[in-house]
């Protein structure tokens, strides 16, 4: 076999293996991808919430509900319930590194609790802005960051409900998810 053909066959095989690795069947594991993913007691977005999961947590997938196909039956540490389909993924979220934790990646929940994601323009960036005579831009970016930071999961869920989008990102409170596009 010529080298080019060998390479092509190897590539096709790798793609097939990768595809097989991503295909998840009932009983297989999936990752939670969205923040504050709610696990409902029954297949309804207004059912009581039995658990709130965070990105990177693994659940066992048991397939979609027979009637409400967008709600999927899952199990998390023995707790059973239903999760909105697109809050799940076959792939884990990207790992983040925090300098304080060395070279060990932190999961998204730890990352949020570290407070690293709420700082915005650093002291050095503000000093850089002054040095480069970009004071106006600095004030504008500081304003933008303050506005953006006020748009938390609650405000997102409110918009999702109004726009009739999918209720993927949950609120931090327990209780039924606001929204429901289907």
């Amino acid at each position: 076999m010529r080298p080019r053909i060998v390479a092509m066959v190897a590539m096709v095989a790798m793609v097939a293996v990768a595809g097989a690795a991503w295909a998840v069947k009932p009983g297989g594991e999936l990752y939670v991808k969205a923040r504050n993913t709610k696990v409902f007691k029954s297949a309804s977005l207004t059912a009581p919430v039995v658990e709130i999961l965070q990105p990177g947590e693994k659940v066992i997938w048991h397939g979609p509900d027979a009637k409400k196909r967008e709600l999927h039956r899952v199990e998390f540490k023995g707790v059973k319930g239903f999760v909105f389909q697109t809050a799940l993924s076959t792939q884990p979220p990207k790992a983040e590194l925090l300098s304080a934790r060395g070279s060990t990646p932190v999961d998204p929940a730890d990352f949020v609790s570290s407070g690293a994601a709420t700082k915005g323009l650093t002291e050095s960036a503000v000093a850089y802005g002054k040095k480069q005579k970009m004071e106006t831009s600095v004030d504008q970016v500081l304003t933008l960051e303050a506005l953006a930071e006020r748009v938390g999961p609650e405000a997102v869920a409110e918009h999702v409900k109004k726009a009739r989008l999918f209720p993927v990102v949950g609120t931090e409170r327990s209780g039924a998810v606001a929204g429901g596009g289907r």
Partner: protein, 364 residues
């Protein structure tokens, strides 16, 4: 038009000012700073110095810590804001509480600020369900009338007023934001930063700059050869080299000189060469995936791409509009899972277009 203005206009021609990144940066920088050129001149310490410079190569392989990404992202965003004519936002009359880090400071309730709140509702919904759900996503509108979008490390995504005026519905807006989110998720911009870090580290430890590429790199306000003379820089790189993570401390005000140098190198690279077609295609695909996940109809993003200004020139580095559309249509068809298997999301009648909100209509 000034050189900067010219470059910015080019950047803004397509969705993806993201397309600024150099695909040949690594090649150029690798050639530009030989690690042991000055061994003879340095006598007994030469071997130690050469070893130190070689160690700098390690930064190329290590993931950049979020604090470092955030510091760089802030300065890159400041540059994009300056070159995009400023943000279309109303800061408070007295910004001193914000400067002191008081995030709860009172902000004017103006239509411009309302637009930004809306933009962040749409953008953060996508960001919170992206593969980097926990970082600080920040979405802003630039004053520029050109058509463009651009992102910066750390989660900054900026769109121009010119682009917003072309948007026909929220699904199209979500597609553009999701494309930029994808570049941050893929850490595309950080490749040029890693190269700048290696180069600066080597320069700090005395590498000679001999090639033409290196000379052009040195045409910033702080010549590369002077990096080692900047206060605290050698110590900063020594500390980074000595740690497992390779993290360079850039957040404090004492790091401003080094951050300035690194920012200049990165910005220079971002301006000079676009992202690769593969990176753009990957960003387009993730944009469609995020739209499907959130409940937007991705065909609206595809329709929006067809309305972009012509190709050629700087956009020659991108896939053609027709190619992008064809790739995304195929990607959308491929989302259907086999029976009995989990599907992360495929197009259904429940996916929404969502009419423009009052905040967006007001800008038109």
């Amino acid at each position: 038009m000034s050189r900067r203005g010219w470059v910015w206009a080019l950047v803004l021609l397509g969705v993806g000012g993201c397309s600024l990144l150099p695909k040949d940066l690594a090649r150029r920088l690798n050639k530009s700073v030989p690690v042991s050129t000055n061994v003879n001149a340095l006598g007994a310490d030469a071997a130690k110095l050469a070893e130190q410079q070689k160690k700098c190569e390690r930064f190329r392989k290590l993931q950049v810590a979020y604090e470092e990404e955030e510091a760089l992202g802030g300065t890159v965003a400041l540059n994009w804001v300056g070159e995009g004519g400023g943000l279309f936002i109303d800061p408070p009359k007295d910004p001193s509480p914000l400067r002191r880090g008081e995030k709860e400071a009172q902000l004017p309730a103006t239509p411009r600020n309302g637009l930004h709140t809306y933009l962040n509702q749409v953008g953060r919904n996508l960001g919170f369900q992206s593969p980097r759900p926990a970082i600080k996503w920040t979405f802003g509108v630039l004053e520029s009338p050109n058509v463009g979008a651009i992102s910066a490390p750390g989660g900054y995504v900026l769109l121009t007023r010119g682009l917003l005026q072309r948007i026909r519905n929220e699904a199209q807006l979500a597609g553009v934001l999701a494309h930029e989110i994808a570049h941050v998720v893929h850490r595309d911009h950080l490749e040029s930063y890693k190269e700048a870090k290696v180069t600066s580290c080597q320069a700090a430890f005395g590498a000679q700059l001999v090639s033409q590429g290196a000379k052009s790199l040195a045409k910033t306000s702080i010549p590369l050869g002077d990096v080692g003379k900047l206060p605290g820089v050698k110590d900063a790189f020594s500390a980074a080299l000595g740690s497992d993570s390779g993290n360079l401390s850039l957040a404090g005000a004492e790091s401003v000189e080094l951050l300035t140098k690194l920012t200049e190198l990165v910005i220079d690279k971002l301006r000079s060469t676009p992202l690769s077609q593969d990176q753009e295609t990957a960003a387009d695909k993730l944009a469609v995936d995020l739209m499907l996940s959130a409940g937007y109809d991705p065909r609206e993003f595809i329709a929006f791409l067809k309305t972009l200004p012509g190709e050629g020139g700087f956009l020659a580095h991108h896939p053609s509009h027709a190619q992008r559309v064809s790739t995304l249509e195929a990607h959308l068809r491929s989302k259907k899972a086999a029976p009995g298997e989990f599907s992360e999301g495929e197009l259904t009648p429940a996916h929404q277009v969502v009419p423009l909100t009052d905040e967006l209509v007001a800008i038109k």
